[in-house]
Every structure is written in structure tokens, then in C-alpha cells.
Amino acid sequence: MEDSREAGTGQAIDASGRRVDEWSECLVLIGSNQDRAAFTRLFRHFAPLIKAFALAGSSLSATHADELVQEVMLKIWQKAGAYDPRKAAASTWVYTIARNCRTDMFRRLQKFDTPLAAEDFTPEQDDEEPLVQLQSRRNRERIKALMSTLPPDQAQILAKVYMEGKSHAEAANDMDLPLGTVKSRVRLALQKLQIQMERQ
């Protein structure tokens, strides 16, 4: 699949004729032209989210949160060349970098002496098949649409695990719930969002 560009508008169109969203477009511009204006737009949108993500765990100070914002944004600048809008939504790509940087920061603060960085944990094999790519877009849209149907107790646990970075056991402890209850709420939420395996 090749991206084509409409003359003058700078609007990226993918092979199926769909508009690529604004943030994917920014990432592509940064990756191909080191476009600072696109980077600034991206910063204004994502930096406040990255900061919120840093502070959600509440164990990072405001200074660390700002440090994380800078680190993540610099990584985005450096790695934008590897971003492929066919494979991931911009926000998924940015989230993954933010998550990795936050994990590394936690480990640094705990004085881990490790040869590994969180991004080394990314599985190597890419699923190139167009079907998989198409599915990934659909997944994202489906999850977005179904999110509002989650009961508050399930949504709350997902936020604890993903945004606050609590393990199931820590979440159980925080919320004064048995571990089994936490696990089953997560599983129910995943079923509602249709993220589930056929096996098991």
C-alpha cells in the first residue's frame, strides 16, 4: 500500500481512499521531513496526556512527570521514521512509547541495574499480512465504541491496571477486594470489549 498525497492540502490518503487522521499525519511528517511544526502540534495534543499518564500512578512527582513528557516526546521525534500508519493508530504508537518510558523510569527510580530497556521486550516478528492490519484498525474502533458500555467497576479496574500501573494483586489490595474478584472483573471487561481468546 502506498500513501498518495493530494497536491497542496498535505492530506494523506491511504490506499483505500481513507483519510489518515491528523496525528498519524503529523507522525508521518516528522518521520519523513523532521517537520517541527507537525511536532509542535503533536506535542500540544499528547504532552498533556502523557503528563496525566505519569501522574495517574501517583508515585511520580510533578518533576518526574515533566521529565517523562520530555523523554517521550524526544523518543517520538527520534523514532517517527519507524511509524507505519497502516499498522497502528498514532495514539497506540504514542501510548506504547509512553508506557515503555514510564516502566523504565520506575525501574530507574528503584535502582534496577539491568541491561534491558522496556522497548527491548517488543516481540520481533511483525504481522505483515494486510488482513491483520485491517483487523487492528477495526479492533481499535470496536474498543472505542464498546468502552462506554462497561459498568463502572470494570472500567475502574482497567484504569487501575493500565493507567495507574497496578498489578492485579496491588489493585486488589488498593480496593480492598479479593484477588479473584479483580481478575474476574478484568476478564469480564475484556469479554465486553471482545478482546478474548477462543482457546481456554
Binding site: 503528563k51 539491568t114 520481533e124 498489578s167 481456554q200
Partner: protein, 218 residues
């Protein structure tokens, strides 16, 4: 094709970036063998991205943007090459890095006649991360775990009372399980084991060794 997989609980913690380092390394090595779990993980990551996108934004000082813009030149864009196709039998890159060589070059500690262990350093202070080499047809004495045990098969295979396992299979056992894995007859088995407490042999013949089986995290 792997037949034994991590539970959705573990995959969720992995996707959220909160699995302890040594366990995350083992799980990510399984993903290199298993397209099904890769897809599942990608979806769990999409879920994280969705939650991330709907966080209430926190104000960021304008000076932070200026700082970052001023530093862009120190952070030149990285160029990427395509990841080469992984050949059959190739070990996950993450493991290769931790091993810094191949199986023959590691230092193996002899535990019993058919079991050798090589400890790898991950830097995780709570988990031991080690390769187990079980001779073809050899058996690890009956044992339980004082904590949890994650196992990934890298070469050959083994069986125990619960089933038989081959390359790419992932097992997670907790303290209650009591088993005696036996390597397949056809070839030596090498597996990765991540433990947060030492093994405890339950067969009388080997129990005397328990005090010597100390956890070696880090």
C-alpha cells in the same frame, strides 16, 4: 505452534507494562513463537491506548515545549532496517542478548546427573532467570515451588503428569503444583525458568539438597 499459553491475566499485565522485568522477558520470548498471543497482546495494547487517549489532560508549561524543541538536534532521528525474517530454531533476540553467546558458551552448574542450570542476569532483584538443560530422557526430581514458576521451552521438550510440552510452550505454575518433568527421549531439553522462590524437591532421595537450592535473583 505453541499449545500452552500465558493466561489473559498475565498478558494484560504484560500489555500494561507492569509485569516484573524477568517475567516480562520470559513472556515476550513466548510471543516470538506465538502469533495468537501477539495478536491478543496487540488488542490489549489498543485497549491501553484507548484509556490513555481519554485521560483528563494535565496542563503542561509552555517552557517544556521550548526545552524539548531546543533539544531536538541532540536527538537525531533514528533510521530503521527491516527486521530479518526469523529462521526456524532461532532464539528470541532478547534472550540472545542476555546469554551473550550460544548455549555451549554459557557456564552450566551441575545439579543432578541429568540437570544443569545456567543463571542469566536480568537485573530484576526479585526473580531468578535461568536456563535449565535436561538430558534427553532425563528427569528433574519431583518438586514443588515455594513461589511461582514460569517456564518457556526453547529446545526439545518435556512432559509431566499434566501434559507434554514443546518449543514455544509457556507454563505458569504456582506453589501448590508438585511435578517431575521428564525430557523427551529424542533430544536434550533446554528451557527458560523464572522463579521467585527456590525449588523444593519432594522426593526423599533429593530432599537433602533443599537447603542448598537458594534463589539467585538479579
Amino acid at each position: 505452534m505453541a499449545k500452552y499459553h500465558p493466561s489473559v491475566d498475565l498478558l494484560t499485565e504484560y500489555a500494561a507494562g507492569i509485569l516484573p522485568l524477568a517475567q516480562a522477558a520470559c513472556l515476550s520470548a513466548h510471543l516470538n513463537y506465538c502469533a495468537q498471543c501477539r495478536q491478543q497482546t496487540a488488542q490489549l495494547q489498543d485497549l491501553g491506548a484507548e484509556l490513555f487517549s481519554s485521560l483528563p489532560p494535565q496542563p503542561v508549561a509552555e517552557s517544556l515545549l521550548d526545552n524539548v524543541l531546543a533539544r531536538l538536534d541532540e536527538a537525531p532521528p533514528l533510521r530503521y532496517q527491516r527486521v530479518p525474517e526469523s529462521g526456524v530454531g532461532r532464539l528470541p533476540a532478547l534472550l540472545q542478548r542476555l546469554m551473550r553467546g550460544d548455549f555451549r558458551e554459557l557456564s552450566w552448574k551441575k545439579i543432578t546427573r541429568s540437570l544443569r542450570i545456567s543463571y542469566l542476569r536480568t537485573g530484576d532483584p526479585s526473580f531468578e532467570f535461568a536456563l535449565y538443560h535436561i538430558k534427553a530422557g532425563g528427569r528433574i526430581p519431583q518438586h514443588t515451588h515455594r513461589g511461582s514458576e514460569m517456564t518457556l521451552i526453547l529446545q526439545g521438550g518435556f512432559s509431566d503428569a499434566h501434559g507434554s510440552y514443546h518449543v514455544g510452550d509457556f507454563l505458569y505454575r504456582d506453589a501448590e503444583d508438585d511435578h517431575a518433568p521428564t525430557a523427551l527421549q529424542s533430544e536434550d531439553c533446554i528451557c527458560l525458568a523464572v522463579l521467585d522462590a527456590p525449588l523444593r524437591f519432594t522426593s526423599w532421595k533429593y530432599r537433602w539438597m533443599n537447603p542448598f537450592l537458594q534463589l539467585r535473583p538479579g
